[in-house]
Subunit: 171 residues, 2 copies
């Protein structure tokens, strides 16, 4: 019981909100990491329901996943990630601030900034894909050389093996 539901806390959109432990499990991170990311300004949970308990929205969870990918797949530092998400953030902030207010004459500019940022990101990704592709080709080439060397070795061994039995066996 103790129906603590329906608290209009910061904003009462009925999105399910995650506690930090749930968030951690769903994203595969630790609570510590989530707090740290918040500390350096990468995350902004609804924070502090009643006591000081953080609550995360689904958007926040998406964001966490996004950050993780920028970190793991592109090898960006958290500072770089901060920059990458900057335009996206201002866009979101303005979007919330002007909820059905102005005709949004400059929101368009923000949006275009975000679009541009996204495109440079895609470009970085493409470069990386290319470089990794080249690297893979090199590895494949190495593999081919080694396999060629292997058949040579096998042949040499086969040539030398019959010595204890020089009469040759056709089968």
């Amino acid at each position: 019981m103790t129906d603590t539901r329906a608290e209009p806390d910061t904003r009462a959109e009925d999105e399910p909100r995650l506690r930090i432990g749930e968030m951690a499990k769903e994203t595969g991170l630790t609570s510590r990491t989530l707090r740290y990311w918040e500390e350096i300004g990468l995350l902004r949970p609804v924070a502090h329901r009643g006591s000081g308990e953080r609550l995360y929205s689904l958007a926040e969870r998406e964001r966490v996943v996004h950050i993780r990918e920028l970190q793991d797949l592109l090898g960006l530092t958290l500072a770089e990630i901060h920059d990458v998400l900057a335009s996206e953030d201002t866009l979101e902030r303005v979007r919330r601030a002007t909820r059905a207010s102005a005709p949004t004459p400059k929101r368009l500019g923000l949006l275009e900034d975000a679009i541009a940022a996204n495109e440079t990101l895609v470009q970085r990704i493409n470069e990386r894909l290319e470089r990794i592709g080249e690297f893979r080709d090199q590895c494949l080439a190495r593999g081919d050389r080694m396999r060629a060397r292997r058949v040579d070795l096998e042949a040499e061994i086969a040539d030398q093996r019959p010595r204890p039995r020089p009469k040759g066996r056709p089968g």
Copy 2:
């Protein structure tokens, strides 16, 4: 003069050998990094000509580039890289040790180990390529959504713009 050439030092294959500074410049690393990598067992320069001066072969330079790619493109730690290069290393060591000696019956095994290691590496690379590809697709989708939103916004603005000037000025 002081023709210090032709010193049969460790082995006198006439490969050009690089000093640590040259190596650093060619690979874009620092001397410190090269020493550090040696310290943790990733590199093994011919070392110590006369005094304690390191000299690197071309093979070593290739190796450095390889390590850099494993580090940057795949995000492996130096410890992981150490593991990845392990089979390759033993192969090389055995290859040097048995220079035209045995018919190499078990060298084949080493070679096959190296081939296997290379294949798992290629697999890791492929997985990564796939994940990055998915990530890129997500980013592209985001971009599409934002662009769609943009045309909406432009339409809204165009609808609302005429209000301050209802009389319409064609010029």
